[in-house]
């Protein structure tokens, strides 16, 4: 027994998943770190004792006060609605286009370089164009948030659809399966794990795009609320809003991660099914 243990170098870690203690350590570590950072923030705020550096309690309290104002609530619900619309469009349109493109090797080879070129442009600077053509309102913001998320969705789905494994395809050919059956039974299940990953990644990008244009065009929304407080130097309000933004981002993404884990376990190569 002892000889077997000395062979394994300590650098190669084999996390023991069955051990309950290590599971608890894995789960608690990020919580400890987060609490530590919040504690550090609190301590710094106490030491500085400055109005431009409030402690966490003040920030949360300011957020709760703001949430009682009708105007602020309108801004928050406005952002949520715009995010929901643009993200749904990203998922439906992006996945459909990407999947269709991935089915044709030739056209995905021809179009992908263009998409990658557009993708590498910092998209924010194109926002004035959206404002020029769609006006200073919800339409241009939704359109831009959609534009921020749709390209990665298309690119990831193109790759996912093109990555159908060769062996099942050959089997399908010898069984003379129709094209529709091949897509339903082989290509789609194979692309599902990548699709769930894309769902999670594009959510972040869509939210980011929306928040940036709300900061820029400044009519309403959370981004506008954030920027509005700069000249007033109301740090408690700003930090409270940032906390709200973090919560708004983390709740759906945590759910999407759980979904991603389930789908990956079920459909990835070597999975149960």
């Amino acid at each position: 027994m002892t000889t077997a243990e000395t062979v394994v170098p300590p650098v190669v870690r084999q996390p023991d998943r069955t051990s309950r203690q290590s599971r608890i350590a894995t789960a608690s570590a990020p919580v400890v770190l987060t609490l530590g950072l919040v504690g550090l923030w609190w301590a710094t705020a106490l030491v500085l004792d400055s109005s431009v550096f409030p402690d966490p309690a003040t920030a949360v309290q300011r957020l709760l006060v703001n949430l009682e104002s009708a105007r602020f609530l309108r801004s928050v619900t406005g952002t949520i609605v715009r995010l929901a619309i643009s993200y749904s469009l990203v998922v439906i349109v992006g996945a459909a286009i990407g999947f269709a493109l991935g089915l044709s090797r030739f056209w995905s080879d021809a179009v992908s370089p263009l998409l990658y070129a557009i993708y590498s442009i910092p998209k924010v600077v194109l926002f004035p164009l959206f404002l020029l053509f769609l006006g200073l309102g919800a339409t241009s913001q939704i359109a831009f948030a959609f534009f921020s998320g749709v390209l990665p969705m298309i690119l990831m789905m193109t790759n996912a659809a093109a990555a159908a494994p060769r062996l099942p395809l050959k089997l399908a050919a010898s069984l003379r399966m129709s094209r529709a059956a091949v897509i339903c039974k082989i290509v789609v299940p194979n692309a599902l794990p990548a699709f769930t990953s894309a769902l999670r990644l594009t959510f972040g990008l869509t939210f980011l795009g929306l928040l940036i244009v709300e900061m820029f065009s400044g009519v309403s929304g959370l981004g506008y609320e954030l920027l509005r407080n700069i000249p007033l130097a109301r740090m408690g309000d700003i930090i409270g809003e940032v906390i709200l933004v973090v919560v708004m981002a983390l709740v759906p993404v945590t759910a999407l991660r759980a979904l991603e884990g389930r789908i990956h376990r079920r459909y990835s190569a070597g999975g149960a099914k």
Binding site: V111, L169, R179, V182, L226, L227, I230
Partner: protein, 273 residues
């Protein structure tokens, strides 16, 4: 069997046939060029014929002429272009150095890895730019808040990719290294870093894209100089020609930066040699 007995002639299904080399006599790169030029021509035509108002859409030829004019304008060069490129370079250098160093730390310390990995996994779901207003209140409008936000935006993608690289050392190589009694430093320079290079390079390339986005987006939202500010200002003061020229310049700058840095990084990537 079924092929031999079937009356229909057997045809290999489309999903198994190799990709056609050309469609209508054109290879995929040629099609990419054709599609790109066609889009440009459509914009030029729409603007010249007056389908879209000249105040909204400037023909690409005039965009290019104005952009060339800006490049000879020393005020623009020293006031907008150089500061932005300098900030992008600084962000990239800091995020790259910090990112690789942080990844090494995470690779060394099991607890740090457990504590940060779940947080890093959801990092890009949170719109990092939301903290920009906080920094503007703390440091004022200027270089410091832009640098902090851009580094924060770019560093995480470098960390996660580099960590993948550090993890990619094959277990057998580590065993061999132990058998050869490599010192920690020898292991670092002879095994770990060379093994990690391809993933680190991939992370740095993404880091550059994120640095560019970070700098231009923050300049765009709120700043007093730089390319992002130039476009925002041109939009607010209805200088449509300048706005389009600025956008075109940013596309060109982003493209040149990507290509040159990718070429430089490709040189140290042994997988591509």
């Amino acid at each position: 069997m079924s092929i031999l007995t079937s009356t229909r002639p057997y045809r290999i299904p489309g999903y198994l046939r190799p990709r056609p080399a050309t469609v209508l006599g054109l290879a995929p790169p040629a099609w990419a060029a054709v599609l790109g030029l066609a889009a440009m021509a459509a914009v030029e035509l729409a603007s010249r014929t007056g389908v879209v108002s000249k105040f909204d859409l400037v023909p690409p030829s005039r965009m290019a002429a104005r952009a060339a004019g800006l490049l000879t304008d020393t005020g623009f060069l020293t006031g907008q272009l150089v500061p932005s490129i300098g900030l992008i370079a600084a962000t990239f250098a800091i995020a790259g150095g910090l990112g690789v160093a942080a990844a090494y730390l995470l690779w060394r310390s099991e607890w740090c890895r457990k504590a940060t990995l779940p947080l890093l996994g959801v990092y890009y779901a949170v719109p990092v730019f939301a903290v920009y207003p906080i920094l503007v209140v703390l440091f004022g409008v200027g270089t410091a808040p832009i640098l902090v936000v851009s580094v924060a935006f770019a560093v995480v993608v470098v960390i996660t990719n580099s960590l993948t690289g550090f993890d990619s050392v094959p277990a057998t190589v580590t065993k061999l290294a132990r058998a050869r009694r490599l010192t920690a430093r020898q292991y670092l320079t002879k095994v770990l870093l060379p093994a990690a290079v391809p993933d680190v390079v991939a992370g740095l390339r993404l880091g550059l894209v994120y640095s560019t986005i970070g700098v231009l987006a923050t300049e765009f939202i709120l700043s007093t100089k730089g390319l992002g500010h130039f476009i925002a200002d041109a939009y607010h003061t209805f200088r449509v020609d300048d706005m389009y020229a600025g956008i075109l310049l940013i596309c060109v700058v982003a493209l040149i930066l990507n290509v040159t840095v990718a070429a430089m990084l490709g040189r140290i990537d042994w997988r591509r040699r």
